[in-house]
């Protein structure tokens, strides 16, 4: 069957929306993200928009009015001193901090395109991303300035701006944090000599202020179809590709986030932003959605170790937390959290990776509030589906497609699967990206006739609730039987002595592939953790072929910057381990 004729299927999940979720997605009130920032900062001018908290509790804040003024100054700097024109790319490589919103919003106000970049990238990854995107300006955290000497000459970057973690803190705390970085932790390398101009963010803002231009002229023509972000993704296979997210994509997804949660959100909310803003989840959910309703973002520059979040949770009335499974699990294993869970909490939002049921259940008991699990991809800005914040929520489910979204499950021949059967989840809606930057072939493989092929295998239950069975590529094929790693991991996570687990396939002479489990011991639970006990537990709950044949007990698992367990790294290890053996 061909997809070209796929008519929009019915949306059976609308019956599950309840009273608080609109069936149709309301129009966005804004034409672009710059328009949104402009209006929002005016509306909430005097309120605190962002507070950044470092591990010792030192902090700095920016009001909506200051964010407005500073981002306009940065836009002026980009336009007048860097020669940035409409649609030009500006790479931003910053951890969470007060500099991030100033710079990101400045880029939008200049009518330019934001290229979010992971601060921990290696020089070769940076070179790839900056040349692929054609970035003209780079804003980078001063902790990583030592990489510039190798990177900049090989890219088209013409201006480098440095920002620190304690940027825009009050003077003395800023001095102390910088002093600690320099002398104590030695994380402030000297800035290498470069051919291109290098300035600090403060200087850039001064230059921008001296221009005293009205920035609205630069973004007035920016509309929903213009490119807002190049969001790089796809580390699992080949090189990273830039997902082209337009202003309309992000604005629509913001509307979708609010459609699902607005009934529980208020302008006095305080959201903990421990996930990095350069990742699409925190970008759309925390930076844009909570910002738009006038809430306050509590930014944590680095949530690892989890201890780093302690002062942020202790000192501010946190009402929402966005996180991933490992973050929630990590928090609950901290004594300061379990003994004194945040008292103002309304709910937590989980995404990025499957939320284990045991984690969600423990969280509900410990904090007395739910974790609502959502699902999304970089390519969909990211939110696709979300659990309603009511009794209708289903544990272990990624919820129902958000308003304005179509979803279908298809088999390998692109035909819809019978009801209740697993199939690849494909989605369509205003949040789906325009394509991959300069990669029409890749785009064609992923987006066909407006449908985004997620590569995730899901089943649809009654009421339109979706359950991810697994990642298409992560399936372990044991003697022709599909084993979904998530299912085995979920089973392993129920063993009290297990802190976390990852499951992948290994080559096996008899069954083609066999299940291998990597398990991390929970140091807080006394008692032995033996391979025999793990196997015995799995035998009790899983069919024979799903029981791990090989078990590796580890001190830790490889994780992505947002804390996703990286099965691909484990697969790479296995590849090396079995090289030449099978």
């Amino acid at each position: 069957m061909s997809t070209s004729g796929r008519s929009a299927p019915a949306r059976p999940w609308i019956e599950s929306y309840g009273a608080s979720i609109p069936a149709e997605l309301p129009e966005s009130a804004y034409r672009s993200l710059a328009h949104l920032v402009n209006e929002t900062c005016r509306k909430h001018a005097g309120k605190t928009a962002f507070t950044c908290v470092v591990p010792n509790g030192m902090n700095g804040s920016l009001s909506f009015a200051r964010v407005d003024e500073m981002s306009s100054a940065f836009a002026a700097f980009l336009r007048h001193h860097c020669g940035v024109r409409r649609g030009a790319r500006v790479a931003v490589q910053l951890p969470n901090g007060l500099a991030y919103p100033v710079v990101a919003f400045g880029v939008f106000k200049a009518g330019a395109v934001l290229v979010n970049t992971n601060p921990l990238y290696t020089p070769s990854e940076m070179i790839h991303q900056f040349t692929d995107s054609g970035a003209e300006v780079l804003v980078i955290c001063d902790m990583f300035a030592d990489k510039l000497a190798e990177v900049i000459p090989k890219t088209g970057v013409r201006t480098v701006v440095l920002a620190g973690v304690p940027e825009f803190f009050p003077r003395i705390p800023e001095m102390i944090v910088r002093g600690v970085q320099k002398v104590w932790t030695r994380t402030l390398p000297p800035v290498p000599a470069l051919e291109v101009p290098v300035l600090r963010l403060r200087e850039a803002l001064e230059k921008g202020r001296a221009v005293s231009a009205d920035p609205s002229g630069w973004w007035a023509k920016t509309g929903p179809d213009d490119l807002a972000l190049l969001q790089y993704t796809g580390g699992t296979t080949g090189v990273a590709k830039g997902a082209m997210l337009s202003h309309g994509n992000i604005l629509a997804n913001l509307q979708q986030v609010l459609a699902m949660g607005r009934s529980h959100m208020t302008g006095n909310d305080c959201v903990l932003t421990a996930l990095p803003l350069y990742h699409i989840f925190a970008f759309t959910c925390n930076l844009m959605s909570f910002f738009e309703i006038g809430a306050r973002n509590i930014l944590v520059p680095s949530p690892r170790p989890v201890q780093n979040i302690q002062r942020a949770i202790e000192n501010y009335p946190i009402t929402w937390i966005t996180g991933v499974n490992t973050l929630f699990n990590g928090l609950m294993n901290e004594e300061w959290f379990s003994a004194f869970p945040p008292t103002h909490l309304v709910a937590a939002i989980a995404g990025g990776t499957a939320l284990h049921r045991s984690v969600a259940a423990r969280w509900a008991v410990m904090t007395g509030t739910p974790i609502a699990e959502g699902y999304g991809l970089t390519e969909s800005s990211p939110l696709v589906s979300f659990n309603p914040l009511s009794d209708a929520a289903r544990p272990g489910s990624i919820g129902i497609p958000v308003p304005g979204t179509d979803a279908a499950l298809v088999d390998d021949d692109d035909a819809p699967v019978p009801e209740g059967q697993p199939g690849e989840l494909i989605v369509k809606g205003p949040q789906i990206m325009q394509g991959y930057w300069n990669r029409p072939d890749e785009t064609e493989k992923t987006v066909r006739n407006g449908w985004l092929y997620t590569g995730d295998v899901a089943v649809m239950e009654d009421g339109g609730f979706l359950r991810i069975v697994d990642r298409k590529k992560d399936l372990v094929l044991v003697s022709g039987f599909n084993v979904y790693p998530n299912e085995v991991e979920d089973c392993l996570a129920k063993i009290p002595e297990v802190l976390e687990a990852a499951v992948i396939g290994i080559p096996d002479a008899a069954s083609g592939e066999a299940v291998r489990a990597y398990v991390v011991r929970n140091p807080d639970v006394p008692g032995e953790l033996t391979k025999e006990a793990i196997v015995a537990h799995c035998r009790k709950h899983l069919t024979g072929y799903k029981v791990p044949k090989s078990i590796v007990i580890r001190d830790e698992l490889p994780k992505s910057p947002i804390g996703k367990i990286l099965r691909k790294d484990l697969k790479a290890e296995v590849k090396a381990e079995f090289a030449g053996k099978v």
């Binding site: 908290v53 010792n56 509790g57 030192m58 902090n59 803190f169 009050p170 003395i172 705390p173 102390i176 002062r311 202790e314 000192n315 004594e335 300061w336 003994a339 004194f340 090989s550 078990i551 590796v552 007990i553 580890r554 001190d555 830790e556 381990e577």
Partner: protein, 300 residues
């Protein structure tokens, strides 16, 4: 002897140090620490059971005269010094445990130090002129608890102010030692030259033996090597400036001069010995870390 001005200055600096110590944590940290008090209790044991006994044994064993016995026992009975936290950090120890032990031992000191002083002072036969009135010690400690609590509250209310004060407190800790050395040594260098080897042995030995016993008490009670190293440093590093303050408030004139000898020598030497021990501990900690990493990459 220290002038009135110097004594006042010392008092003010101690207040700042204690304010800084309090500001290194919040009231909640304090509550959390007591949910799993094992490490802290072991620390208290080595701080208030092992150390004073070592001080007493050294004083009697070396047959020191009464003013030096008082000085040595006083040093041995003191709570942990705030500089121990810096050493704990550089030795890759458990910083939170170090901070907590310093704070808790300072609080417990209000009761324990007067008792221990009276007990070991009596055992060593210190009487009359050289006995430190227990009320004096308790008073000084209670007065110092006020800035400690104030510091904790400040940290909670304004983390920016709290962390700044913490930093100032740490610097003051170093300044006080320099101040004591600078104001005392030049006036007393003939005394230093006349001081016997046994006294140097006592002042240097009390710190080193404290660290040695602290480590093995902790190990014996099931603490891992890293925590044991932290407890070790905490046990050996005493609050020397506090001992000096107590002495200046209890004695005058030549008597004060005599009693001050050991605490001041202690404050001077503990910086050197702790630095050496810290470097050694740091090497051990690094070696253990590498061994753990190596165990991780070995395939199953």
């Amino acid at each position: 002897m220290l002038t009135e001005l110097e004594t006042t200055l010392l008092g003010v600096m101690m207040m700042i140090i204690m304010l800084g110590m309090g500001a290194s944590m919040t009231p909640r940290d304090f509550l959390i620490a007591f949910r799993k008090p094992r490490g802290i209790l072991i620390g208290l044991l080595s701080q208030f059971a092992v150390m004073p006994f070592l001080g007493y044994a050294l004083a009697v064993g070396l047959g020191l005269p009464p003013p030096l016995v008082v000085g040595l026992i006083l040093i041995a009975c003191m709570p942990g010094g705030t500089t121990s936290n810096i050493f704990a950090y550089f030795s890759k120890g458990v910083l939170a445990l170090s901070i907590m032990m310093t704070v808790v031992s300072t609080v417990v000191a209000v009761v324990m130090v007067p008792l221990l002083l009276a007990f070991y002072g009596g055992m060593a036969g210190v009487t009359g002129d050289y006995a430190i009135p227990p009320a004096n010690v308790a008073q000084v400690l209670v007065v110092l608890l006020v800035p400690t609590i104030l510091g904790m509250i400040l940290r909670k209310v304004s983390p920016n102010v709290g962390a700044t004060i913490e930093l100032i407190g740490s610097f003051t800790g170093v300044v006080v030692i320099l101040f004591l050395i600078a104001s005392w040594v030049p006036r007393n260098y003939p005394l230093l030259l006349a001081t016997g080897l046994d006294i140097y042995f006592a002042t240097i030995g009390i710190g080193l033996m404290g660290m040695l016993f602290g480590y093995w008490v902790a190990r014996g009670l099931g603490q891992d090597t890293n925590r044991a190293r932290t407890i070790s440093l905490e046990t050996g590093i005493q609050n020397g400036p506090l001992a000096v303050l107590v002495i200046t408030l209890s004695f005058t004139g030549a008597q004060q001069q005599e009693v001050l000898l050991i605490p001041i020598l202690y404050a001077l030497f503990i910086v050197l010995t702790s630095t050496a021990i810290t470097l050694w501990y740091r090497r051990n900690a690094t070696r253990e870390e590498l061994a753990r990493d190596a165990a991780k990459v070995r395939p199953a």
